[in-house]
Assembly symmetry: C2
């Protein structure tokens, strides 16, 4: 696998400080997650645990915790703990449904749940986790935080539908692409951070700063993810490289490769997307062209700009180790694989 | 189609009074529904409207309105209107997902949405409506009502998963069957009525009475629906008769037909369920046996008992036209097709 280096030199970032700082709170969040996925219907915890125990980075609930801790709010950590667990449930529900929608076969490095228990189970257990998320939020007694995550949930599904209706559309432009990733990914990062700050009782300027941080971080994260789909490895991704291409998703590396490769006129991309199934050879050719035009590096440059915007949004926060850790996380989101 | 008569003579009931009384409020609920299914992503209102415009009886939101009006609560109708729209969104979301799970081809007398727009769209638009339901609830500022409907949503999905894991299981007993229909159907009726009463500011005894009414009504309703699947017509059902049988769902008419027909020992039912596809001839034979053993009538008798329990639960309510209309609705739920 070729290394794809970022054309602008960027700080490497680090996820370790935020993981270390949030560990005691995240232990409690994980305990809540385990408790609240319980059900008398055995398939539910079995399926949910398959995905939740696989772990992932727990980036979104960690963001809720870090936002609460960094915000200087005085209301304590109990509401943010519940909101963090709710955020992870919403995220897991969307993953279960996405894998059905995309018929993906790998998730978090494991066989996707729908291939073991069937798509109907994934749909229904996703619904269960989504409902449980709202039950957790009700316990916080913060209608404002609940409203933030309810709105995020509808925006996420709008983003997913928009992505679905624009799949295989090689004329997708950067603006609509950004609209899609803002809705399907960044909105939950933004809401996770915002809800954490609200739950902690932060003042409005800090709440807004943390929302802006989450939004920009989420966009940077998704851009890096989409770059990785052409420039990374399955082990780094926890899913197969080339999934976006195979599923006909038009992402920024592809949009930029088309632009930089003289548009669609040589028929290369139309031919690749005209096929109903794109195989490994098709992906190898596409990947060569995307990397060769510098589109992966260029995508990471754009991601870097969003990471910088995320860091700038932290200026309203009081000085703290938490703020420093959020700053390092923003750089990490872009640099995490190279 | 043979008429199957109820073995115990019951009052016919009537849905007209509650429809007439709730019409002005339901016009406002329908307006809210239309407004809140709007989205910049055109597929969403198109798909949602396909199902929502098809109408159905709007029984569940009507129940929220009627519970609010009958409760004597003094908080006004604004919160119940929003809760009613939320209840319809939750119900529509579950229908969209159920049709994917069951691969049904007919819903509310129209081609099921997933056959027009694909299963992925139905999954995602269901998610959207579910999220929008919570946004509507947030506007009521009633955390208690929101908690009732959040809990109902997780119970519904548990019921759906339980039904899925027990499909094709001819040893399903009446107790588990009742557990399934209580969760997947009756819980939303109960929550719809309870939330309406809470939203109107009713006192606790009335709230409890209306929850009990909704729960018993919901069980009666589902029992009658399951009886109709063997004894009714597609036009009465808004879906195909025999769907439960074809999908391998074991419902009370089937459980009772097995009991009354001497158990499983003649191999009739095992043979029918061993097939991966059950066709119209299989259903005709099954239907003959279910009706012939009196299992449809017996199911309707059980439904009648629940309708009576629903009516009894209304005793705590103040006298009103609304209470009388709820009383008639309970009988209607059982008698609606015969």
């Amino acid at each position: 696998m070729d290394a794809v280096s970022n054309s602008v030199s960027r700080p490497a970032g680090d996820v370790a400080p935020i993981v270390r700082l949030s560990q005691p709170d995240m232990d409690r969040v994980n305990q809540l997650i385990r408790e609240r996925m319980a059900s008398d219907v055995p398939l539910i915890p079995a399926l949910a645990d398959h995905l939740i125990a696989a772990g992932g980075k727990r980036l979104r609930p960690m963001l809720t915790i870090a936002a609460a801790r960094a915000s200087g709010g005085a209301k304590g950590i109990d509401a943010p703990l519940h909101l963090a667990a709710a955020v992870e449930f919403i995220h897991t529900a969307t993953l279960l449904h996405d894998d059905v929608v995309d018929t993906s076969d790998l998730r978090r490095g494991k066989v996707a749940a729908h291939l073991i228990w069937g798509a109907p189970s994934s749909v229904l257990v996703g619904d269960f986790l989504f409902a449980r998320a709202f039950e957790l939020m009700v316990e916080t007694d913060s209608m404002r935080a609940l409203g933030i995550l309810a709105r995020a949930s509808s925006v996420i599904s709008e983003g997913e539908v928009l992505q679905l209706t624009r799949a295989h559309d090689l004329n997708l432009d950067t603006a609509v692409y950004l609209e899609i990733i803002t809705a399907k990914t960044a909105e939950l990062f933004a809401a996770a951070a915002e809800a954490g700050a609200v739950g902690a009782g932060a003042d409005d300027a800090v709440v807004k700063g943390l929302r802006d941080y989450g939004m920009n971080l989420g966009i940077a994260f998704q851009l890096a993810d989409d770059a990785l789909d052409y420039g990374g490895t399955a082990s780094a991704l926890g899913k197969n490289a080339g999934d976006d291409f195979r599923e006909g998703k038009v992402t920024l590396p592809l949009i930029l490769a088309i632009e930089r490769g003289g548009g669609l006129k040589d028929g290369f991309w139309d031919q690749a997307f005209a096929k109903s199934v794109r195989d490994d050879d098709d992906f190898a050719r596409a990947r060569e062209r995307v990397i060769g035009t510098g589109a992966v590096s260029a995508t990471l440059d754009v991601a870097g700009d969003y990471a910088d915007a995320a860091k700038a949004a932290l200026a309203v926060l009081p000085d703290s180790d938490w703020r420093d850790a959020l700053d390092l996380l923003a750089d990490y989101a872009v640099s995490r694989v190279y």
